[in-house]
């Protein structure tokens, strides 16, 4: 579960930061990374990996929300102003 969290959190963050990939997918992967990371932290063996996945998942979700809503809304408005 820890490895799954790390992989999904990392992939989610990459998807969110990469401009040509769908941000929504990054948010979904980030959320799954958070869930797996949180559940994985209960196992002492994989706690480190799970924590890393959890943190990456949280960053992916926050950046994803910021990018998806903030920039898309701004893009449509700024294009209407200019």
């Amino acid at each position: 579960m820890g490895i799954g969290a790390l992989v999904l959190g990392l992939v989610g963050l990459i998807v969110v930061l990469f401009p040509f990939l769908p941000t929504t997918l990054g948010i979904i992967l980030g959320i799954i990374g958070i869930v797996l990371g949180a559940l994985g932290r209960k196992d002492p063996k994989g706690k480190g990996l799970a924590t890393a996945g959890l943190v990456l998942g949280i960053i992916a979700v926050v950046f994803g929300v910021l990018w998806l809503i903030a920039c898309n809304m701004a893009a449509s408005t700024i294009s209407s102003i200019f």
Binding site: V35, A38, V61, V62, F63, V65, I69, M73, A74, T77
Partner: protein, 258 residues
């Protein structure tokens, strides 16, 4: 109002949503600790409810804003940009978010009631942060109004903006109502003896507030059926369902005692 970074605009709506996500996590972990709930369990429920809430809020927004024909034409063309455009409807987020929270509770092998005390009061606080974003972006509208507290927007955010004309500060009023509701929930959580009493208070309280405020929103874009706007019908439906379930469970309890 936008923050420009390298020529790209960053909307305050998104910034407030991101802040709301972080605040929700922080506050729910804090309240969870006070109620002896593990941080990991709180995060699972938070993530699941957020994911479902985001989907539900967007689904309801799209359902209200687009006709089925337009939507189907966009999907056939492979144009899914409508997902990233426009706003969200909180009521859709709330209903789907509760489903997500229930699933999250199942994943942690608990019931939704276990998390009620920790998480419920967080919702109206986080909602208020989101509404700050709405105020700064100009969405969620407000009827034309020039009285005390009127808000004036000087750029067009979407086609329904009253540019240069005062509008009712609906977002501010809703922020105040949400904070009052949050305070009531925090106090009531300590006193409530019945299962889901706090959830009941929140759903009925918020639905009532939303029903009244919709008269001041001027949200013609979201549609109206008969006398009431879409959100008012949803609010009335929520109050009805909650009271129905409450009456039924009270009746069952009395029947068991007898």
């Amino acid at each position: 109002m936008y923050i420009l970074i390298n020529g790209k605009g960053l909307s305050p709506y998104g910034i407030c949503m991101a802040l709301a996500v972080l605040t929700a996590m922080g506050l729910s972990i804090y309240r969870g600790k006070k109620n002896d709930i593990m941080m990991e369990d709180v995060l699972v429920v938070d993530a699941m409810s957020f994911g479902f809430a985001l989907a539900g809020a967007k689904i309801l927004y799209v359902a209200i804003s687009y006709s089925w024909t337009d939507l189907w034409n966009l999907i056939k063309k492979g144009d899914f940009s409508f997902i990233g455009k426009g706003g969200f409807v909180f009521l859709g987020g709330l209903l789907f978010g509760l489903v997500g929270a229930w699933l999250g509770a199942k994943l942690t092998k608990r019931t939704l009631f276990y998390y009620e005390s920790a998480l419920l009061a967080v919702i109206p606080i986080v909602h208020s942060i989101g509404r700050v974003g709405c105020l700064l972006s100009g969405c969620c509208y407000g009827r034309p109004y020039d009285g005390f507290g009127a808000v004036y927007y000087y750029t067009e955010v979407n086609g329904e903006r009253y540019v240069g004309q005062g509008v009712f500060p609906i977002q501010v009023v809703e922020i105040v109502c949400n904070l009052i509701l949050a305070t009531l929930l925090i106090f009531y959580t300590k006193k409530a003896r019945e299962k889901f009493a706090v959830l009941r208070l929140y759903l009925v309280g918020y639905s009532f507030v939303r029903f009244v405020l919709e008269f001041f929103r001027g949200d013609e874009h979201r549609g109206r059926f008969g006398l009431f706007y879409t959100s008012q019908w949803i609010s009335m439906g929520m109050i009805g369902v909650v009271l129905l379930i409450w009456s039924y469970s009270s009746y069952c309890k009395k029947a068991k005692k007898a």
